[in-house]
Assembly symmetry: C2
Homo-oligomer: 477 residues x 2
């Protein structure tokens, strides 16, 4: 009964995916709206997911030799303006601080939309010789972009992220770093979030402001739309030149260094929701789930049930993030509650289970029930958590495969884009005019030029001239 | 030689403590100045200390049932104004965002100086019944206060901190939370930072804007000045009333809840520097030191030295945060470098040590050398790290004891304040006029009314009327 009630509170995915999404973020208690339009409150359950993401990723950054730093949140207007392309990209969407206390500031400050300029200013101070290179820095922080339309986790005016900023003696080293970090992102997305991604290069039009090349991992959401899930930028020596960063090389000659930056954000939480969620709510990949296993005692008024459930809980919390729910809510209510919250595994334990020295494990991803002996529960839980991750990954991959199409003519492209949400693989001549025409006529943007190229045809899908690249096109968040 | 050179670069503490301090924060590479006045860059070595502080403290918060959340960084002007005392305290020193992109905002937003108003606004949304209480929340973030004079770590316009915000059904519960968190702070400061603190209550004049009571831990720096190192506030139901937060109690009657907040900041790094540092630079308590043990091979060109040092390093990194320095700098240069950086233990290993199956361990706090067999190195390192912590604590305690005075008359008070930097214990009638007179005539502020009261005399040190409290007075950072 209680379960029915709770489930009915959220919109069905197929009926209205956008409404389903906002229902899930609220009902699963991931976020709340704040009094500032476009800025959200990340509630404990949502923030715990982000903390798990941070913990794993920070470990991967440190293993690859990176160090964390903390830059100021403000950028003086003159500093933001030093790199021409960069300021053009960001100035229209920054928040400006004009007053401190009761006084007008001599120079207005923007709240950082990204911190390339701050890092460059610092590098200029601390880099003098080849011995000072490379610097492999990262920071976890929030940034602000004054977006017109916002959606929880996907696009908000303030959002949390990490931004890596590195500086190297040679272009080759910087280029290798860019690719290394893209691979870290891809591994993280696939292994820990169970989200398959396509690695590739952005077209010039979609490049980060100030970058020579932007690399990306692109994921497909349940509804067939793309989500750019992480980017890594190679800057060449453009920023270094604009900021006058130089170093004495081994021959004591002044040289200009090369830079990169790379970032992922709380968008990843949006990606998790839209990749794995279903009509019962959130479905969390075990690696980042705040609760991996919830124990629900059945008929807990019966003698010995609470005691045995607690004993099992004590064992389980040593091997995973376990929780026991001993509240007076009905088991049905609890089932619905933890399904809504996407807990990967549920453990049911009642009087008959106890008699038989067993319990029931239920997978959140596919509802599969397994009766398990209490003797080897640790192994079974570990195995099933792994199975949930694999199940989620394979389901997401099947969804992407099913919703990936090919087009060789503009008509085909428009037809697919109009009727079948998903990725469209099509050839491109590398002319920006064609990219813009596809946006206008088919409503799709280039997602990336994948590292793994397919040759679908010889001709550009738009103009028919010789093709140079196979591109993934699609509608995107 | 190299060592001499490096040491000379910093000012002596006794010569100019303020200059010594800024020398240490720069030379130990804790921070760099940014292009925004009063906002600093925390460099990897400084940030790693903060990360260690966060890790330990976050564990203590979670053990006491707290959850982390993330609030927006902006507060609309109207929200900041809801609690009268609070806005009076903070409005004069906030940074105002007036424009987003190219447009003027309808309502200006301040960058949070503290987040009580944001939490209240959220609590109003999510608290309806006694079942929703308590909420025990915390967030790690940075806040902004437009200070006129700034010093690295001690007072900066943007600073990092944690702010706990809790809400409870009864005043007693909230009051108990306030004290519990003060005790957590005191335990953290003494056990992990090796900084002895005095726990007590702030006078009304020194209270946090909007609080009924502010509790504090006060530490004494090497130069005898006080540093307020953590505060915990009991708000009564003032904020809840101002924000209209109510809940249905167990009898289904509408009640008003009670609140607390508590915080420590990157000031703690300033406290570490000024409590433990010496003329050779930083001295770090082992619990938060990014490097706990540095291994310096001696005569590393000799056969087998580098190999053996590396073998020792592989063993040591399993039991502590160890580093090996295999660069071509001289051992003397390395000694000075890691002394400057405050590494608690140095391990020296040369050809003769290897012959004798031993090494030399040198304590940073007192320079004591111990020759240790390589067979039980793990135990010796653990023992010495603990000894460094105890040594630091006892030295700081001795400094505080030595520099704590008593005064029974105003003349005595002025005399001590003028000639002997330190804490002055003196009785007070609880009249604000006397507190202000002491500030004006002796230049001291009330640090706290300690929980552990001494009765020094019957009369107020200032007016001679009957005394109600023994107060610690002093000059403060």
């Amino acid at each position: 009964m209680a379960k029915e009630k709770l489930v009915k509170e959220i919109t069905s995915m197929d009926e209205d995916f956008a409404k389903w999404y906002t229902d899930v973020v609220s009902k699963a208690e991931l976020m709340d709206y704040s009094s500032v339009k476009g800025c959200m409150i990340i509630r404990p359950y949502g923030w715990a997911i982000w903390e798990n993401i941070q913990k794993i990723m920070d470990g991967m950054f440190k293993e690859t030799g990176h160090e964390n730093v903390s830059m100021p949140m403000f950028i003086p207007e003159s500093l933001l303006q030093k790199e021409k392309d960069h300021v053009e990209g960001f100035a229209p969407e920054v928040a400006w601080v004009t007053h401190g206390g009761n006084e007008k500031l001599e120079e207005k400050l923007c709240v950082r939309p990204t911190s390339e300029t701050l890092f460059c200013d610092h590098y200029k101070n601390i880099i003098h010789s080849w011995r000072d290179l490379p610097k492999l820095y990262n920071q976890w922080c929030s940034v602000v972009r004054w977006e017109k339309t916002t959606r929880p986790f996907l696009r908000s005016r303030e959002f949390h992220w990490q931004e890596g900023h590195t500086i190297h003696a040679t272009a080759e080293e910087a280029q290798a770093e860019t690719i290394q970090m893209l691979n870290v992102y891809a591994e993280f997305a696939e292994k820990y979030l169970a989200i398959p991604v396509i690695k590739g290069v952005k077209t010039e039009k979609e490049r980060f402001a100030g970058a020579v090349n932007t690399y990306t991992i692109e994921a497909m959401m349940h509804d067939g739309k793309a989500l750019q899930s992480g980017t890594s930028h190679f800057f060449g020596d453009g920023f270094a030149k604009a900021f006058g960063i130089q170093f004495a090389d081994k021959d004591n000659k002044l040289s200009t260094p090369f830079q990169t930056s790379w970032g992922v954000s709380t968008r990843l939480i949006g990606a998790i929701i839209m990749t794995h969620g279903d009509d019962n709510g959130l479905v969390l990949p075990p690696a980042v789930a705040p609760i991996q296993l919830v124990i629900v005692p059945i008929a807990s008024h019966k003698e010995g049930v609470t005691e045995k459930a607690t004993e099992v809980y004590e064992r389980m919390k040593k091997v995973c993030r376990a929780k026991i729910d001993n509240t007076d809510n009905s088991p049905g209510w609890k089932f619905a509650e933890y399904e809504m919250k996407g807990v990967p595994l549920r453990l049911e334990l009642g009087p008959r289970d106890i008699e038989n020295n067993q319990c029931v494990l239920v997978r959140r991803d596919n509802g599969e029930k397994t009766v398990v002996s209490l003797d080897n529960l640790e192994e079974e839980v570990a195995r099933l958590l792994e199975a949930v991750r694999d199940g989620l990954y394979n389901k997401a991959l099947a969804n992407r495969t099913e919703k990936t199409y090919e087009a060789t003519t503009l008509e085909e492209m428009i037809e697919i884009a109009d009727t079948k949400p998903g990725f469209i693989k099509a050839m491109w001549c590398e002319d920006r005019a064609c990219e813009e025409a596809l946006k206008e006529k088919a409503g799709v943007s280039s997602r990336c030029m994948p590292f793994e190229q397919d040759k679908i045809s010889d001709k550009c899908v738009c103009c028919g001239k010789p093709a140079k690249q196979m591109v993934f096109w699609g509608k995107a968040y």
